[in-house]
Symmetry: C2
């Protein structure tokens, strides 16, 4: 499985993904699940992926091919699409078509082949937007009421987001929130694993403002995780019933 989470805040977008990919429990590998398509200062698009690696890789390769195609226009290239809505539509259509083709190929094996994506970004002159794209190609969008979207193993890390994230959350607090959400998930589910990819896209920058790969044993992350565990245990002692 996978855990990816994206926050759309007044101050910008904060994205975090793990890298564990597995086929069964005895075939575990590390693959990046966060990708950027940038034309700095004009547009930035981030994609995070969950699900069948063959579906997500092929979808991304097709999005790349469409961008590089000399005949690409605003209906096929996500770097030429006039709005983030149109970007989400192109990605949704590409994902849906790829998923159907691979599911057809896998039919005899009775294997599932599905995938979902979080697409976040901004065009100069447009608003920041963030979408969760379903395997069928349709999508939902993050709003003021629900400023975060998750794909993959989303349940373990949801309570902390429900409690602390609002659109007014600062980018610093937002990074802490997604890392704590990931920490709970890593502790409770083996199918989500280090290293992690963390990215921040500040509002109106139309470029990736910061990105960081957090490796297994990263001392900052381990310190945060230990401090959070200690704080939770302290809180547990203090709360009475």
């Amino acid at each position: 499985m996978t855990y990816c989470v994206g926050l759309k805040l007044n101050a910008g977008l904060v994205l975090l993904s793990d890298t564990r990919t597995n086929a069964g429990l005895d075939n575990i590998a590390c693959y990046r699940k966060m990708f950027f398509f940038e034309n700095p200062a004009e547009r930035v698009i981030a994609i995070m992926t969950a699900g069948s690696l063959s579906v997500t890789q092929t979808t991304l390769a097709r999005l790349d091919e469409a961008i590089e195609n000399e005949l690409a226009d605003e209906t096929t290239s996500i770097l030429k699409a006039p709005t983030m809505l149109q970007v989400a539509t192109i990605i949704g259509d590409t994902l849906s078509r790829t998923r159907r083709e691979i599911a057809d190929q896998c039919r005899d094996l009775r294997q599932q082949a599905s995938a979902s994506m979080i697409v976040a970004g901004q065009r100069a002159g447009g608003d920041m937007r963030m979408f969760l794209i379903y395997p069928e190609g349709n999508f939902i969008e993050a709003t003021e009421d629900t400023p975060f979207l998750q794909i993959g193993e989303h349940k373990y890390g949801k309570p902390i987001l429900d409690r602390v994230v609002t659109p007014a959350t600062s980018l610093a607090d937002a990074q802490k929130a997604v890392l704590l959400s990931m920490d709970s998930t890593l502790r409770s589910n083996l199918s989500v694993g280090m290293p992690l990819d963390l990215a921040v896209i500040e509002k109106d920058a139309c470029a990736v403002s910061a990105r960081r790969r957090i490796l297994e044993g990263d001392s900052d992350f381990m310190d945060m995780s230990a401090a959070w565990s200690a704080a939770l245990r302290d809180s547990f002692v203090k709360v009475s019933i």
Copy 2:
């Protein structure tokens, strides 16, 4: 859905279940999911249920019928079975048979009919034991390494249990831990709902030591929930990355 959790500690057993039952989102009802079979001072057996209500109710009715049958013997009545292992086997066999029959009846509708159970208890002279019984009738048992078992919507409430519960946890702390685990689940998943049933079975009592129904709006539970939220937010502010 459902959330039920049981802890097997050195000091005793602590059990908590919700009561929400739904068929789709527009048909929501309240049903007890925690049941006791007691012969005080000789044996106590607690069963918590998750899954299709028709499967769990019929399974429990058949266990009752077997107890009341004049011809009942130690292979059919859970109040006569000589060990908790044999109790779990009778319950597993009854659940498995009931589930198969109802699944056959539902086949034309392409509806799932499945259920799982947590069975916990003790016989005088035996050890406390706690089992998770799968829909197929097989089961696993709580151990020193993993002193808790969960059924239903288990993911939201697992991180807190992973962090604070060990076999040495006191019965008071254990009740707090399961209530906080439930609190996280209630906040993040609509299919789990109040009221709650909480029970404690002290070691070697061979009887239910305490049971309590926690109603919607219970002031102790609301205070604990609010204090926990506040403590989490305080901890969040203190932890740095």
